[in-house]
Assembly symmetry: D2
């Protein structure tokens, strides 16, 4: 798929898919994963990001990461774009990118940097080396301070970079970054449905979704409303999905860490909606019962609203 | 070395050593590294943490990490304690720990968690699995919110855990954590000289140093003053070292990211003091000239003070 | 003016006016102030908020505050709405509100709370008492954490509350607050032009402006574009004004405090555009020369663009 | 009392006293206040700060503020130092200072600045004008970013400034500030018992207390242990008081605002200990029952420990 086409493929909802594990969480259930992804494709999903945070990237081995990406390639049709997440230093990311390419991925999303200390010029060189080392399209993932406006403006000029996932809750900074960056990239709102309208009005042409793993039609409907500039409809759909997103941001029980519910809510929703969710790996834990009940309520509300 | 002895070994200054690279930064210069470490040992350093942030952990390959740890084992005498840093998910950390043990390390320091989302119980299980999988002493590294007071109190009870490196600038939280944690661990102030007095008065029995890579005698002198409760002398030494630490916290030029100077200052200091510092790997870059000059001034001031 | 009409008056750009001082900053220049306000009225401004932060509220005496509000009433025509800012405890705010009413103001904006400690229920009672004590319409000003979503939802139900100025840069929270609040209030984006599009798409029907003090036509044009849902035009106008807003957010020279340039930029712009700006009172200081030059450049750019 | 003597008076525990109100909170109960203060004086308290945050400064009228300060002067013996809090712009603060002087106060504590925008030079001039306008000793109150290290270093040189209350939880910044400031001032740890050891080791010669309103002997004992460098005893006393301070930092019920319990815990403790606490004014509310029970438990624990 040529790079120009890739830019266009990112003008869509990007599904950051979850990975179903065996009951003891030891193994990835690739068949179940393939069923999930295939169902999403049938529901209209075209852009997939396996091995992101919702995919529990940091709890997977490299072999699993590659097999997860391959499962997406195989379980989807011709119109699908598959973007594998990869983190680490240059050799680590480029090795994964090479493997993703070998199994048929279209692009690699470089995860937000882990390095404890970094310099903007050093980060630029880091991304440049990755761009040079892969034939895949590169998606740059901004989350946290490391990728400054200047770095993103510079990276937008790289031919390999097809999209930038902007995942900080700062719509002013996003707006200014889009304006400052002269390169030809597709901008993704990386913080999902609750920011879908405000980031779209400032230049985002797509967004990433987690709840799309189990209510794909609703988030695709939201995307459609935004593209059509039907703002009242878009706001209604956004409000319909908001409570699920709010629960994901919570800590659950016996825990003070923010957003520990993030992936567990998605997986419980998948279980409810006929997808294969199941358990999460450590350092995450299952959703507490009362939060499960809240997710069930919200899922029922969405189902009853039948917006699509 | 039995665990009881390890606890005592951590009542010291912990040298988080830097790694010298070839001019093109492609290779680790193991001979130069061995010279550095051996010189530090001669200067009185006994506790070494290779493969930490000052050791550019995130820019090393696994093979390099293991060889760096081995170099420390070989370059130091019988009284040395060698603690290798390791990050990632359970299989990744335990594989590194096994390799560190094979080359003669005494302990493994589990780096602050990278996982984007975590739950306190899940983190506990994460550390428990690592503790179960290694015969090395385990050092827990708190930096950021993930390791809450409750998690640290629980981990302090694990037999494998010998020390906790507390690297948040919150002396009240540190004090309360030490008081809440009933287990037998050695508490390390993980944010170096500028916090050495205040954390010591609240229960820290050791601290980690970066500038110790090139002024080991001064930081060991500071440690001695604290142990002797000679607070005026300790404050003077702390103030002598403070400007170097302040420069490390800065961003350098053409950069907005905090502490990009952290490792470059250490390496430039090493070059000044007759150690092998040299270049840093990406995403870090060399120290700008004016910051080099400031480091030189401070180094000269310390040299002239000749406190030891 | 009946309350229903007031709600509608807030569907507009709210001009938070600056106060011109004598050269030694001792006296308010009421004639100059009246000229400024009258010019703004002629340029199309209809909604005025004297005695806000841009009006250096905290550096005025109570007598000056009242006279400043009165000047606005007298210098504007029948279509103007005048909203005086007031801060402090219940007796302090209600005394000012009474005085503002006596000089002809339409509403009182209660400044963000100063109290070091507060409880949500206590804040509700604080606002309720103010509402009970005045016949003016009340504008609630959210800036910082004190006015939570719950408090704002409750306050939206008060008959006296006609508008809520939301001045935190959190568009998700704004969106959720608007959705949760069932009362009949007009929502104002309280952080000006750079947030004008994103907050409008989430339910803001007006916004406050500082640069409107000297480029009123441009910000009114921006408002018009937003109302017309002409987003490309709106984005262009937003980008045209953005650099001025960015400079206002800066610290100037020999200073680390954020946004010290806020009012000085406005006053220098006023001097450039034929309004009476002049000096600022302590703890603010005049704009440094290089920032003055940057404001001049930006003003020239806007002038050349001649968007209206 | 000459300024040199004042400096010495601040080498002590500074009691930030609470103000008892009538049941409907309308009136200050001056007799009860005088009883409280007189009891504290008998218990050994010598340094009093009425009209601070614990004194609900922001909920008092100017007349009440002055009368509260006067009550302190009258209810205490010759050895007492009385420091009245004052906030606002220059005319507001100087008017209060003048009134405090007239009723016999020794010093005025200028509250942390309220001004929404400020410049460091402008702040300096603000404090200079206050210093020039009063014959009282001036206490500078740092809380939040406004009073930078540079501003404090400068203010330390003013003859009128006798003490600086440093109330940010940043012991490194405190240490550096003390080192940078060449002037002759007494440094107060402004965040009470939990920071008493760490700030003392870095140069604080006194600290402010809230719980001292009802357990004065314990906090004076802690101060004594610190002065004697009996660190184990000091740590024990600190740990004994810590839970009360932790509850003060909490939000109570039906509230998300931090530290809403701050003053209510103190007043409930006063009720328990035979002082006159009583209700708080809005925007604070009474302590919830379960928090009252926790305060009672802690008070009983302290009483049983009988450390003095």
């Amino acid at each position: 798929m040529p790079a120009t086409s890739l830019h266009d493929q990112f003008r869509d909802v990007a599904f950051t898919t979850a990975v179903p594990f065996s009951r003891d969480r030891t193994d990835v259930r690739y068949d179940a994963l393939a069923d999930n992804v295939s169902q999403l494709y049938e529901a209209g999903a075209r852009l997939f990001i396996p091995c992101g945070n919702t995919g529990e990237y940091y709890a997977l081995t490299d072999d699993e990461r590659i097999d997860v990406v391959e499962s997406h390639v195989e379980a989807t049709g011709d119109e699908a774009t598959i973007v594998g997440g990869a983190a680490g230093n240059v050799p680590e990311v480029t090795a994964l990118a090479e493997a993703y390419e070998a199994v048929g991925a279209d692009a690699v999303m470089v995860m937000h940097p882990d390095h404890t200390y970094a310099h903007e010029s050093g980060l630029l060189e880091y991304y440049d080396r990755i761009c040079d080392a892969t034939d895949l399209g590169v998606v740059v993932y901004k989350r946290g301070p490391e990728l400054t406006r200047d770095v993103l403006a510079e990276l937008s000029e790289r031919e390999a970079v097809v999209a930038i996932k902007f995942a900080d809750d700062d719509v002013k900074e996003f707006s200014q970054t889009v304006d400052d960056a002269d390169g030809d990239v597709t901008w993704l709102n990386g913080i999902a449905e609750r920011y879908a309208l405000s980031f779209a009005i400032e230049g985002a042409e797509g967004y990433t979704t987690g709840v799309g793993n189990f209510v794909p039609e609703v988030t695709l409907e939201l995307y459609d409303a935004i593209r059509a500039e039907e703002w009242d409809r878009a706001r209604d759909l956004q409000q319909l999905l908001r409570p699920l997103e709010d629960i994901r941001e919570e800590s659950g029980t016996e825990n003070d860490l923010a957003a520990a519910n993030n992936v567990p809510v998605v997986k419980h929703g998948m279980d409810l909606a006929g997808y294969e969710g199941g358990p999460v790996r450590r350092p995450l834990v299952e959703l507490p019962d009362d939060d499960k009940a809240r997710v069930e309520d919200q899922y029922a509300t969405i189902d009853a609203a039948d917006p699509y």
